[in-house]
Symmetry: C2
Subunit: 428 residues, 2 copies
């Protein structure tokens, strides 16, 4: 039998402890499957004294992640600290520098520094694996990089922030406004320390940037992701969408267009009876479309100790088995720097706005849309008691640029009571 694969684990939060548990409880199973023993040599975290509910006595302790990464008695540096820069990045670099493979769950670090790290890994002849960074327990990185390698990928879509999907589906099922459900999610501990990472779409945007790189052979480009959060979604939007057979999801969409790489992470309307539309609560879903495979849908838990540790262990088992694939599916120096196609292909849009209740208000809005070349599929003005009138418009296919032009013109009138909410209707 081959020598044991020796792990050094930096970060002992939920996921780190989950990995330790699996390595301890599935010793024989992992050896049977990979042909090697998988052992933990060293671990480290900020606070050594904390009781983590798992026995760490047999492992060397390293408070300094860089020192952990540099130890010569580990083969794989398992980075589970998080944070795009700082210690996680420094330790990852140190690990590659000293000949270790790296397994990480750190989407922010890879979305921002993935290109440089992939190049460093390649120069050093080492691997970086990050299944746990995208969509928790779903083995989507593997499916996209390996299983679907015979396809030209035409579109990747995903609901990849469980907290946002929890908030949106809970608003609908409980009939509660955004603020109330946001508070609930906060009380339940579902939100990141900086909640904008979740509800602003940043966390999901990091994940999308990683999927795009693999799918389209482009450099990970988080700055090129058109980001929009769910903060302005009202219970009214959810109800109106449902009336028309849609549900609202914080949906990531990436595709290559003639004008460059389109990456959007924004609330969209999707058909209620599609797999994406049916997705409830904190579950994640990734949809991959390729020229041969047509459409594959992957669904599973997007977070949590077990699922995320499962993904980390999948990467570790691959390394134990000698499976080595370039970080983003092809050599890092061959990844293209594709321009960002921010506006996206034309699509129908949902528009909700409040108009001042005065004669000719609706006509003004309709005229502005017409002037921007946007034709109206449906329009409704609702009964109301206040001085403002809620109006709902569904457009025919238009570009986001034309829509933004129209919205700018609307705000220049004296009939708008608030900025419109504009949501793309994505064909899925």
């Amino acid at each position: 039998m081959t020598a044991p694969l020796r792990l050094g684990i930096a970060g002992l939060g939920t996921v780190g402890v989950g990995v330790v548990k699996i390595v301890r409880s599935h010793k024989a199973l992992l050896t049977a499957r990979t042909g090697r023993e998988i052992v933990i040599t060293a671990v480290g975290a900020r606070d050594q004294g904390k009781d983590r509910g798992v026995n760490l006595n047999g492992y060397a302790w390293e408070s300094d992640p860089v020192a952990l990464a540099r130890r010569d008695d580990i083969d794989v540096f398992v980075e589970l600290m998080g944070g795009s820069d700082g210690p996680a990045l420094e330790a990852t670099r140190a690990a590659l520098d000293t000949g270790k493979d790296v397994v990480t769950a750190n989407k922010a670090m890879l979305a921002l520094h993935g290109q440089a790290l992939a190049e460093q890994a390649e120069d050093a002849g080492r691997a970086i694996r990050f299944e746990a960074a995208v969509a928790g327990g779903i083995p989507v990185i593997k499916a996209l990089t390996e299983g679907l390698a015979g396809n030209e990928i035409t579109r990747v879509m995903g609901v990849m922030n469980g907290t946002c999907n929890y908030i949106l589906t809970r608003m609908e099922s409980a009939g509660l406004p955004y603020d109330a459900v946001f508070q609930e999610a906060s009380d339940l501990g579902y939100l990141e320390a900086d909640p904008t990472l979740d509800v602003g779409g940043i966390d999901a945007g990091h994940k999308l940037a990683l999927l795009s790189a693999i799918a389209f052979g482009t450099r990970p480009d988080f700055d090129g992701v058109d980001l929009e959060g769910i903060q302005r979604i009202a219970i009214d939007d959810i109800r109106q969408a449902a009336d028309m057979g849609f549900r609202i999801k914080l949906l990531g969409v990436a595709r290559r267009t003639g004008r460059g790489l389109e990456q959007r992470m924004q609330p969209c309307l999707v058909p209620a009876d599609s797999p994406l539309g049916q997705l409830e609560g904190g579950t994640n879903m990734v949809v991959v479309e390729g020229d041969a495979v047509e459409q594959i849908v992957l669904r599973g838990p997007g977070a949590g100790q077990g699922p995320t540790a499962s993904a980390v262990m999948g990467d570790i088992c691959d390394l134990a088995r000698g499976i080595r694939v370039p970080t983003f599916g092809r050599p890092a120096h061959t990844l293209e720097a594709a321009p960002a196609a921010l506006s996206g292909l034309p699509a129908p849009y949902y528009l909700r706005m409040s108009l001042m209740d005065k004669p000719g208000a609706l006509a003004k809005i309709a005229a502005i849309l017409g002037n921007s070349g946007i034709s109206i599929d449906r329009m409704r003005q609702y009964g109301h008691s206040e001085a403002t009138a809620p109006v709902l418009i569904v457009t025919h296919k238009t570009t986001r640029a034309a829509l933004d032009e129209a919205i700018a013109a609307m705000t220049g009138t004296d009939v708008m009571a608030s900025l419109p909410v504009a949501l793309r209707i994505e064909q899925v």
Copy 2:
């Protein structure tokens, strides 16, 4: 760059031609991803003269698959002929014997001879890959063998015969009886030459046997699959199930129990609002449950040129990249010969029967169920004009053995107008 990977393709039906098309059209993409050129050296099929819509001029032609497999100018033998025995098996053995890796879509061959072939491959230091054999384009073999390798798998379920799912969902949507939709499916060319392979659950049973082997580390055991087809499902069953919030699926379920390996491929009731219950038409779905990952759902096209060729190409790309994993996820000689636990864990059952319209008929049936220790959750007798009365019973949890005992006792009475239809209600 490494030397090209040279393919010999035996079988030029839909899938074989699909593979040729991808190799030809995605030359640069495949090389970029795998770091090697992938080339076709030789092909073969029964009829050389047939126009297959793709240019085969550059490839050597071998009518004899064994001769093709033995050629010393191929690295990978791609077996796309089908058939559990005969030429496919002989050629696969010849390929391994002469140092080739094998990629196959042949579920029947592997379900019946997988153990022997895996051992032969291992002894020869070669690989057998079969992503295309299970659930078409869905990369489920990879997900189960590699992505989820850190899990103890607790249950695998799947709707893996698109024709059966087409028939069942079409019966429901069109309100047509089984025979009419069977004929439709036949006219559309959806059925195998021997349709029992589809509607009798045999094809799906082969696939389940392969998934079980990987999931539970057991020898592929098709004979241990409790097989039941969809031929006796009536439109009434589908309607009654829908009334109670269920849909009927030809569902494969495998799990390890204290008494051995449970493998069932049979029509089951599943909740209508579950991913399995929502599955329409010819689409396939596999659900994998593991102790860490909880539940992963994979959905995609289960057949067709593009999707199946995509799966074959995934395997070929893996071989080009040097990825080698034991056939069933661990060395073949370590796979256990687990006894078959045919009866399965207790579950609620749906029972539909026709009783003779005479006094005390229903009471007799109820008494028989009681005598077998089966308690009744719901029972309905429907209005009727004929001499027989349709009766529907949903039981509380019971074993299949107790139910079979009760059904045998029922048929011994003089009140049964026909054999009952008994369908398990699977918790998903």
